[in-house]
């Protein structure tokens, strides 16, 4: 089981790094959005640092959607999905390996890049740390929720738009608690741990529902 899981994880990481892979695309998109917003709002540092966590979270959410539509679609088109069904491991484990690889090349770089992009929106050092922590804990929820949409739209052409419409509503709770945890670190009456723990719970919940849901969608997708 471990061997099959690792083989798939390594294959997807390799593919992300090769020509046509989505590795780094999410990160560049994230950078583009975060850079655009100060231009639109003007050079008001107080305003920027107040809404900074919200900007970074929305940008991270949108960047997660980049490449998500290809998560299962690429395998569906070239027949690899048929190969993946023949695995000696349950389809849920196959889905988990693919989602984990996707998070490693999109979610994780976003969280690690947050401090640098935090500079662009005038975040304080404390807020930057809080952003890294909330993105690290929160982006898995986004990827797992998105995986269900990706599995549902795997056999559709132009499935990316439908995917976004399908999954964005389900990402709202993650967004709310992600931003409120980051804001709680900046001060206020709520302790940081309260929204942060709910965010962690959302990620764990999304992991279970996302994996089971995406596998079920792939099974019935024929």
């Amino acid at each position: 089981m471990i061997r099959s899981f690792r083989a798939l994880l390594v294959r997807d990481l390799k593919l992300a790094a090769r020509v046509g892979g989505s590795g780094m695309m999410g990160l560049i998109f994230f950078l583009a959005i975060v850079t655009l917003i100060p231009f639109a709002l003007g050079p008001d540092l107080n305003l920027l640092s107040r809404i900074g966590p919200a900007i970074l979270w929305i940008a991270a959410l949108l960047a997660t959607l980049i490449g998500l539509d290809r998560l299962f679609q690429a395998d569906q088109e070239d027949g690899s999905l048929d190969l993946l069904r023949l695995a000696p491991i349950p389809l849920e484990v196959v889905v988990f390996a693919k989602v984990a690889a996707h998070w490693l090349v999109t979610g994780l770089p976003l969280a690690l890049a947050a401090p640098f992009l935090g500079l662009l929106v005038a975040l304080s050092p404390d807020a930057m740390l809080a952003m890294v922590a909330t993105l690290l804990v929160g982006t898995p929820a986004l990827t797992f929720i998105g995986a269900v949409g990706a599995a549902l739209t795997a056999s559709l052409r132009r499935g990316g738009l439908i995917l976004a419409i399908l999954v964005l509503p389900f990402m709202i709770p993650t967004l709310i608690f992600g931003v409120s945890a980051a804001n709680a670190a900046l001060g206020g009456t709520v302790p940081f741990a309260t929204p942060f723990l709910i965010l962690a719970a959302l990620s764990l919940f999304a992991a279970v529902v996302g994996i089971v849901g995406a596998a079920a969608a792939l099974r019935s997708g024929e």
Binding site: A7, R11, V19, S80, D82, A87
Partner: protein
């Protein structure tokens, strides 16, 4: 391993594609599935591979230990299931690790289909026939008793078709089972044949 198919029928949507397909295969036997375009040959393979569920009838696997049918088979279809950004070698290495129960090394499997020189090339650079040969090399990197081959000779030149026949005969000699769909006659010694005809909707069926 023994595979029995009894009175199998398949629906896609509301339409009955075929019905009443029965056959039995034991170790070393091969089955050739023929029929017109669109008769449901590939659909039959999809049913065997577990991707579709039969509308009637059943597929029974016996003498296969505790493995399920999908874990016992190799499937080579119209789409080659190769990642074009990866090299031939990487594609086979992945299949070998992923499918479990490894057999030949990727390099040896490529040698068997005559593509050692292409091992380090990304699959995107290869021709349709070469891709098909790499997909067929996947049959050799993991032990699976049942081979499901959908038009395996398409895109292959005559020399490669002979190589493929050799591989199939070797697999049968070792007790393997083969189900292949084809239009061109396949010279498999003593192979069973089943012809799929599109079933005409009977009046009673149309109501149901």
């Amino acid at each position: 391993m023994r595979l029995e198919v009894e009175d199998l029928a398949c629906n896609r949507g509301e339409r009955r594609i075929f019905s009443g397909v029965s056959f039995a295969l034991t170790a070393g036997e091969a089955l050739i599935v023929t029929g017109r375009n669109g008769a449901g040959k590939s659909t039959l393979l999809d049913l065997l591979a577990g991707r579709l569920h039969p509308a009637a009838g059943r597929v029974v696997l016996s003498e296969a230990g505790d493995r399920t049918l999908p874990e016992c088979l190799h499937y080579v279809g119209h789409r080659d299931a190769l990642k074009s950004a990866l090299t031939a070698q990487e594609n086979l290495d992945f299949a070998r690790d992923f499918l479990g129960d490894p057999a030949l090394e990727s390099q040896e499997a490529l040698e068997a289909v005559g593509l050692v020189h292409a091992a380090r090339l990304p699959v995107a650079y290869l021709s349709a026939g070469q891709r098909r040969r790499i997909a067929l090399a996947r049959l050799l990197v993991a032990h699976r008793p049942l081979w499901l081959l959908d038009e395996p000779t398409s895109a292959l030149d005559t020399a490669s078709q002979a190589t493929l026949l050799g591989l199939m005969e070797t697999h049968r000699a070792r007790g393997g089972l083969i189900v292949a769909t084809t239009h061109a006659p396949l010279a498999l010694a003593g192979a069973k044949e089943v012809r799929i005809e599109r079933s005409r909707p009977a009046p009673s069926e149309a109501v149901a």
